[in-house]
Amino acid sequence: MIAYLIKRLVQCIPLLLLVSLLSFGLIKLVPGDPAVVMGGTNATAAEIEVIRKNLGLDRPFHVQILSFYGNLARGDLGRSLMLGQPVRDAIIERLPATIAVALYSMALTLLVGLSIGVLAALRHNTWVDQTAMTVALIGVSLPNFWLGLVLILLFSVHLGWFPTGGYVEPTTSFLGWLRSATLPAVSLAMLQIGLLARITRSAMLEVLRQDYVRTARAKGLSEFAVIGKHAMANVAIPVVTVVGLIFSVLLSGSIIVETVFSVPGMGALLGNAILRRDYPMIQGGLLFVATALMLLNILVDLAYAWFDPRVRVGGAR
């Protein structure tokens, strides 16, 4: 297991190098640069040239990329051109909000998505199934920026239950955090709930047709034991794959939801960096997201082994 883990981690290194190289090269190919953005609507070409020089963007491409890798080797992701702070600090500053909202959203997704999926499968071809799948379909279809605004209108403006935006850190006030994170988490979760419910339903339906489930029932096991113990263990494999994917999406943040609710998270950080052509921030942010995705993938692979002894690493040989 340890050897497998080390092997997977080592495999990540060239991939990360490739990601950094591609992100560095591609972003330079995109027209428009940070100096233009900083200049605003009124800047003259001469003023923009001054900004460009101030930012070091007038240096040749090879000098810039060598400087990038030199800094990277020292663990330095560079300094954000727009935020005026080290990229690493910017990521560290925003990561907690993204992780906290992602976990909250994930919890909602698992709770509601799994329940709906299982319920729909158990009540296959009944009105319960049809209703659950309709809800799931609506969930995957609603644009989250629209949903976010509707939630604000309903729960903030009319009912006054939650704030319209902003983010309170859980360390400052847990209740405050819960209030500030609920609407963003729900907005994010709606899409994922729909996705997870459909996958769970489909996996559960397949499992319920298996011989071992029939055997378990024939042995007189309670329905709870049949579903909760025997069926769910086999549903877990496809569900874990989807959960891993969902979490990786949530972890990279959602620019739309974070913008609507003014949550200072990774999605808004990266989205703004792209819009503002903040090269170091884009490169550092992408590198971070790529690393997180690779680590999550490894975790998901390890989870397969946990749920299914047949795929336990080395065990099948």
Binding site: G32, T41, E47, I48, V50, I51, M82, T164, L275
Partner: protein, 528 residues
Amino acid sequence: MLTKRISQQGLALASATVLLAAIAGQAQAQAFRCPRTGGDLIFALESKVPGLDQHTSNAGATRNVALNIYESLVTRDENMSPVLELAESMTVSPDGKNYTFKLRQGIQFHNGKTMTSADVIASFERYKRVGVDRSILDPVDKWTTPDANTFVITLKEARPLFIEALSSFTVPIVIVPAENAQAAAQQLPVVGTGPFRLEEFRADSFVKLRRFDGYKPDTRHNQMTGYGGNKRACVDTVTFRMMTEAAARTAALEVGEIHAVEDVPAASQKRLRDNKAIKLERLETFWMNVVYPNFSAPPTDNLKVRQAMLAAMDFDEIMEAAHEGQYKLNPGFQFPGQQYFTDAGKELLNQKNRAKARQLLQEGGYKGEKIELLTNRDFPVMYNTALVMAEQLKAAGMNAELVVLDWPAALQRSQKETTGWNVFFTGWITVIALGGPQTLRQMAEPNPVYKPKDNKVDPGYMAAFNDINTAPTLAGRQAAFARAQRIALEQVMAIPFGVAPKTQAVRSNVEGYKAYYTPRLSNVWLTN
């Protein structure tokens, strides 16, 4: 003393006049005192603040916050005339080349240090090194500090408009402590002399300012005027929250989570107007909707084609669509009431004459070549302007086509390339507010926005532009401006469609707030 000294200088007559007006106008008013102090005023910004290094950023979002923190030797008053701020007095030598600034005494920086001429010279040197608008200082030969209280600027030659340029607030030459002046671009420690000091800056989220207790108000004035005058921080703290989503921003104002918003979309204004807990504040002349053709790319390299475009357009239709009905047509590049306002050439605007357009196209030998309208969706105003303009040009027989990029890409193409675009869509704010000479600079050498061949601008225009910068009298400069504006419209260097207001809103418990080019939070208090 200030006005007496300046009035003795022939070349600085205009500046002296405006400075005199700025002070005399307040003589009868009562000195401002905060009726109530305390509280945290929460102000929602529509854009993210890209740092607070005011020397190196000309983003409006930086100014929104930074102009409450920093101050300059000279700034602009309510009518956009130069007014002394950190300078106690300014004298100009008879030859118009030496400007001597005596500094106000007892001015403290937010770090507790007292400001001296060493800080002023260090700030100017930093600006010369990294300042975005450093061309302001091009006419300067040298600067000296004869003593701790005096700063002298010597010009290479007399420039009657030097103080107008020096007082520009687009990228103002704010005074920072000498020990910070070596900071690289974008890394300036946020220490100024203004009524508010920085408490916390959480990038992309919020900026919190706190009242600076060591602030020395400028008691030469009774009231705040423009960015200068008698400023006092009435609230304990100001929190600028960055809320880029307009609907969420407006909702937050309605439920009272914030006290004020930088911008209210037209669609929400009616609802807010009916809300007794909210007051709308409007700056009538804010954004000039402007496009400029590309003189280097066919077919807009052809004067007749450009004139045909101008003849064909219905400005009302364009402004209606772009600004949702909130606009005024404007007969030139300055607003009525501004010092350089003129309607010279107004007959060339809003002609709505398709027959004339077709005639001009025929005379110009137009063969249906594509006219690329380079716009973006980041600013819906620009996109909608392009959309309507394209239809109007098509209706007059022109082959107009939209080229939609994002803002950075579109702006870069318009600045760096002479092909791939024929008309560029933008908006001028400070360019117009700062006055005639600043406006004309956009169309003059060395960086004319419309890309004339070999970068050579019409000689008549350049002559008028030079006259504006050298004519000793205001009347002479105004006449030169009118000449330049007429030529600009005849040559179709830029097309000013009209002006749109800026509508802001505050909760009813916010008093003293007045919409301006950037949010001024001095002399604003909370009633509860």
